[in-house]
Symmetry: C2
Subunit: 235 residues, 2 copies
């Protein structure tokens, strides 16, 4: 198929596809002449994947490129794809360039307490450490011990994730699913957490309903009312 059909069947404008080609989100088609190139279903699949990462998950184009590159390079060994640097958070480089032995960071302590085997270079370590520091700066008593039970729940979540991959015959298929599940499900999991919070919180701190009989003091059995308002963004 040519670029216009790729555009039609994906819903992405031709100009944008060209942009993605320049940005190396898509491999070039096979040129049949100076002004003609041929694309196949592989390109279409790639394009849809890239678009989903960008529009649904909200990844930047450059992060998306890294994700897709990783997907290509490690398509043989499934597990390598996980802990990969798939744009977790605005993490900058470690600002301590010295290679002297350092004391274990909160992230290190948490990881060893959980008994996990995690790459030394994982950017997720910095995310954990930095966020803990920020929370403390803001007056919340939080250290790696606080995160231990969250870590246990993360283990259960990861098991669910891996189970989703079981029925993928092709290992290539499995790698792609791993990426999709890991990344696209993130907003959903956070949405579930917020809803679970709303639900649990509505029961614990019942809102003083307007037509309330008594002023309402502490835990009274009560349902949630309309609450949230619109607009969300950028994740």
């Amino acid at each position: 198929m040519r670029i216009s059909e790729l555009s039609r069947s994906s819903g992405v404008p031709v100009a944008t596809i060209k942009y993605y080609l320049r940005e190396e989100l898509l491999p070039a088609g096979v040129a049949t002449s100076a002004t003609q190139a041929e694309y196949d279903e592989h390109h279409l699949r790639r394009l849809r994947l890239a678009r989903a990462l960008i529009t649904v998950r909200g990844l930047s184009v450059s992060t998306t490129r890294e994700v897709l590159r990783a997907l290509d390079e490690h398509s043989t060994d499934t597990h390598l794809l996980f802990g990969l640097a798939l744009g977790a958070v605005p993490t900058e480089e470690p600002d301590c360039p010295s290679d002297q032995p350092q004391e274990p960071s909160p992230a290190d302590q948490l990881i060893s307490a959980l008994g996990w085997e995690i790459s030394e270079k994982a950017p997720t370590r910095a995310t954990v450490t930095d966020t803990l520091a920020t929370l403390r700066d803001l007056g919340l008593p939080a250290d790696w011990r606080t995160l231990l039970p969250y870590g246990r729940l993360a283990e259960r979540t990861a098991e669910l994730d891996l189970a989703q991959l079981e029925d993928a015959a092709d290992p290539l298929e499995r790698v792609e699913r791993a990426v999709l599940l890991t990344i696209l499900l993130e907003p959903v999991l956070m949405a579930l957490r917020r809803m679970a919070q709303e639900n649990a919180s509505a029961k614990r701190y019942p809102r003083p309903e307007e037509p309330a009989d008594q002023p309402a003091d502490q835990p009274v059995e009560q349902a949630a009312g309309g609450t949230a308002d619109g607009a969300a963004e950028q994740d």
Copy 2:
């Protein structure tokens, strides 16, 4: 304190503070004259909070403004703050403006299956529904039933979250903690999931180590090696 001291004690440039004032992330100080205004610790606290949401969590300025506004408006009733539209994902408005009775969306089915009481207007519903649709478009068999066990884990996570608030005496303090926990912990929870995936995956699909004795065929007991590479972003 004046603006320059606010800048010094927060580390945020004066020009940026002025920008935040214009964007209504901070309330104006009390003007003592035409060219002088006084700020207090409340402003400093606000500024630090806004900065954390923007730089650590990666929220946009406009989303941050909504979060802070919500924090002010609902500072009396804790639970309302949760499910709030705190920028979960690039969710656009519902594109079906008709108010005729619609069939329940996958999100609705999931929520009722979980037995949750959730605001009708919660933008998280759209996140769930849209992401499920995207996943199916990309060939992953996913429906609301897939998310049920994730929902159960979300309940447990939410319980941990609420427990963190127990020891906050002041209800105002509690609301601020709720916001911090809900939003700042999101990258951490996703980081924990990725690490848990790496850990579990390393054990399930051991990587063929370079100095391997035999070609390695299927599950052999093996630890994870160095994997990830740098760069993460924008979340």
